[in-house]
Symmetry: C2
Subunit: 212 residues, 2 copies
Amino acid sequence: MTSRPFHHGNLRAVLLEQAEQVLREGGVDGLSLRELARRAGVSHGAPRSHFIDKQALLDALAEQGFARLTEKVGAAIATPGSFEERFRRVGRAYVDFGVDDATLMELMFAAKSNHPTPALEAAAARLFDTLDGAMPAVSGGPAELGAPVGPADSPAELRFRFKLLFAATMQGTATLITSSRITRAQGDTIVADAAAALLASGLGIRLLHSPA
Amino acid sequence: MTSRPFHHGNLRAVLLEQAEQVLREGGVDGLSLRELARRAGVSHGAPRSHFIDKQALLDALAEQGFARLTEKVGAAIATPGSFEERFRRVGRAYVDFGVDDATLMELMFAAKSNHPTPALEAAAARLFDTLDGAMPAVSGGPAELGAPVGPADSPAELRFRFKLLFAATMQGTATLITSSRITRAQGDTIVADAAAALLASGLGIRLLHSPA
DNA sequence: CTATTTACTAGACACTGTCTAGTCTGGCGA
DNA sequence: TCGCCAGACTAGACAGTGTCTAGTAAATAG
């Protein structure tokens, strides 16, 4: 090892960077704090100064992942085009991210037994807020979807349900591709079909064509 | 320990059973071959006779999971009722399974780096075949969905796309609930909305109402 | 310049998965 | 019926891991 000042000065960032690379190469099983320390050229206990736990490191990775995905989705929304085109672009961006960084995606949407970090929670919330930008404009009127429809179904509520349905479909598509259950091309088809089906359904039409 | 014949006689089944319980209690991180051996009252090396690897144990668990899920989906399909009711029942069964056995579900749909076991592959295929039973009847005519539609889009192809879209939505819903991104009730809403949106879309209407 | 807080080192511990060599035994061929 | 042998199981070892602890170096605050 080349001589290094006692204080690394950048350890936290380097560890996260190496961790993401290791995740891509060998999955979460191949990720060990000690190897990360070795790669960074520090002792095996050094990471503890920045991450109390291995879980803390994983949480930080997930948080970073949410930020990156939010950025990609935001870019897809910002690109001009018809509503359906934008819809498809967002879906493809979401799915592509989930497939290319499959292990990271699993970390982001893993079943949490212990209560999640507020920072992680916030990063996830930011993604879902960003998703709002891909939704059609709000309109009034009762819903035409399948769930029990009552007077409480405000336009905002409909928009929210529209978003949830969209998010679930993209999320599931990424999972199915990742687990080799379907191909990437089939995933693209799902995205396109989802966009068409959602828009063709009562809610989509209503949201698109009704006066605001 | 009470005396036990040298040959356990049932070790493999007991290990799998204990493993499923441990998965439910402490997630995949809490699962160790050595503890399973301890619970079964055998030495730490004994599991190796039945599972060459820890991964082999996990694969067997996933395979069992696919079988159980297939059974539940099959039962939901078999129950009489309108098409949309059946659709919702299947969706709810799928999502419920994925939420109640979240860790097992993650195992079943994990990103596989190494090539998957043929048995596991077959179990997964069986689930997707069973899903066909929840789809509407096939009809002729061109597609009305969003993906590029050409003369190659046979009715069977449309049915298949319908199924993929359905599967992805259910899968994603389960993941979103499991990761605490949405509530179980919101998951139910997604299922209902998905059923309605799919049926209201061109493909659903065509498949339902066209002459066979 | 001193004191404190932070980053890091080094050693230890319990635990894990996996490999190996050896022991037991149920069931098969002779 | 007997011998034996493949398969189930034991026990020990090894490298690797996450985490804890005590101590050291250095950046920073007073």
